[in-house]
């Protein structure tokens, strides 16, 4: 419990941990999925599993927006970026994501004009300042981010910024959770719901999980104490035989979400009939595209993109990691052929990706420091060793 003294309220953290332990039914193994990549980061960074009883396992979910974009879409992005006259703008996280033709960083090195932006509004500004160039914004993210793209599109239309377009890859969280619930690979007992997505969508979209699947959902924040309290609330529901949607993150999330944000999404975007997710495959009605009214700003209509499905590299097991079927260190290439500096899969790229979190903060981070003189030598041994330390994230 090395980190507990660094929590905002160590006494509260210890009390929550004791309460969770008291809610465990002897002999039962609990698997709770935290949906959001930000929560995954917190869990690994603060070694939360060390505070939890051995029977309570946190399984990392698909809520890392960078991680779930499939290889084919990254190929499309690079095809657009390499067209003459295009300025391709992207969040920094997407720069190092591999495609079958290198990353956007590689495309930049080959001469493409790829620029990092903080906000879609910065991309729009680039378009205003470069009227003789085509400026494309690579839109990714769940419902947290989609409203930002939506408002930017509204602004582009009202200001008639004709050289601006959006390559839309926004995805929606509920169909991904459905896919996981329907997957035979994994039996989950409950969910720690994503905090910031829920500021937009509110609590109602989760009710089917409690009602139809009989599993508790507790929407939670990102601080270690939030995730601990979310875990305690799920465990209490399980102990009392309840399955409800509860809100741990009342300070930020309103039950109805943000109606203005939902309106902005609905005005500018509509559901795609299907969309491929890395690891989860094609999921119907799980992603957004621009509505016909915004067709002139749709990069997919403006430019021809290859639009083909590209299989992940054979060695990469991001799919299984994203579904929670294997833990990051169980992947054959984790920390050896695949590192944040030279990622093979997306989960190693984003700081919200489970693999990157374990690489940076997990027990291997400590081991790597010790083994710096022989960086690749511990690969085969550590999967088994790590498995023994399973409940994850210990800095070993």
């Amino acid at each position: 419990m090395r980190f507990v003294d660094e929590y905002r309220d160590p006494a509260l953290a210890r009390r929550l941990a004791e309460e969770i332990a008291g809610l465990v039914e002897p002999g039962r193994h609990y698997k709770l999925m935290e949906v959001c990549g930000g929560q995954t980061h917190t869990i690994v960074r603060w070694s939360l599993p060390e505070l939890l009883p051995a029977g309570v396992e946190l399984v990392h979910g698909p809520g890392c927006p960078v991680c779930v974009i499939p290889m084919g879409r990254q190929d499309d992005a690079i095809a657009i970026a390499e067209r003459p006259g295009v300025i391709f703008t992207t969040f920094g996280d997407m720069m190092r994501v591999p495609s079958s033709n290198g990353s956007l960083l590689d495309a930049k090195a080959r001469g493409a004009d790829v620029r990092m932006v903080y906000s879609p509004l910065d991309a729009l500004k680039v378009a205003r300042e470069n009227p003789d160039r085509e400026v494309v914004f690579f839109a990714i993210g769940f419902e947290t981010t989609a409203p930002s793209t939506a408002l930017t599109l509204r602004r582009a239309r009202s200001e008639r910024v004709g050289n601006f377009s959006v390559f839309c890859n926004h995805v929606t969280i509920i169909p991904a959770i459905k896919a996981i619930l329907d997957s035979p690979d994994l039996r989950l007992d409950g969910f720690i719901g994503p905090g910031h997505v829920s500021t937009v969508i509110g609590l109602n979209p989760y009710r089917f999980i409690a009602r139809d699947h009989g599993k508790p959902v507790v929407v939670s924040g990102f601080e270690p104490l939030d995730v601990l309290q979310g875990t305690q609330m799920v465990m209490r529901q399980l102990a009392e035989g309840r399955s409800e949607v509860e809100n741990q993150y009342l300070r930020v999330v309103r039950e109805q979400g943000n109606p203005l944000a939902l309106e902005a999404i609905a005005e500018t975007m509509e559901l795609r009939s299907t969309f491929e997710w890395r690891g989860l495959g094609f999921i119907s009605q799980s992603a957004l595209k621009l509505r016909p009214a915004y067709a002139e700003f749709d990069a997919e209509r403006r430019f021809e993109v290859p639009g083909v499905r590209v299989a992940d590299p054979k060695a990469c097991q991001c799919g299984e990691v994203l579904k929670g079927v294997i833990r990051p260190w169980e992947c054959k290439v984790f920390g050896t052929a695949c590192t944040p500096e030279r990622p093979i899969g997306t989960c190693m790229v984003s700081s919200e990706g489970a693999c990157a979190a374990y690489y940076n903060y997990g027990r291997h981070a400590g081991r790597r420091r010790l083994d710096r003189s022989r960086p690749d030598s511990d690969a085969p041994a550590h999967a088994a060793a790590a498995d023994a330390a399973s409940a994850a994230g210990g800095r070993g």
């Binding site: 980061h41 920094g92 500004k125 947290t144 981010t145 930002s148 944000a261």
Partner: protein, 92 residues
């Protein structure tokens, strides 16, 4: 990129475009507050908001903002990167 950062509104810059200047950790940048604009007094100087990719997505109180900031600072590098990204922004 899913990090939300708390910022304090220090100026309403552009009423038509619903742009406000916020301050966080000494960095001042413009953000869009349109997603919170549900009435004429929706947001004002002194309010705290949660910011994501240049947009305020939720109102928060000062106590919550303080707790978030200390949790973010404890993250170290990801927080510094997020702050540097915000600094790189030039929303008008």
């Amino acid at each position: 990129m899913c990090l939300g950062i708390p910022g304090k509104i220090v100026e309403i810059v552009d009423l038509d475009n619903r742009t406000a200047k916020i301050e966080v950790s000494g960095v001042r940048r413009n953000v869009d507050v349109g997603l919170l604009w549900d009435g004429p007094d929706a947001v004002g100087v002194g309010d705290w908001v949660l910011i994501h990719v240049g947009f305020a997505i939720s109102r928060i109180d000062e106590g919550e903002a303080g707790q978030m900031l200390s949790a973010l600072r404890a993250l170290g590098e990801p927080w510094e990167e997020e702050l540097a990204d915000l600094e790189s922004s030039a929303i008008e």
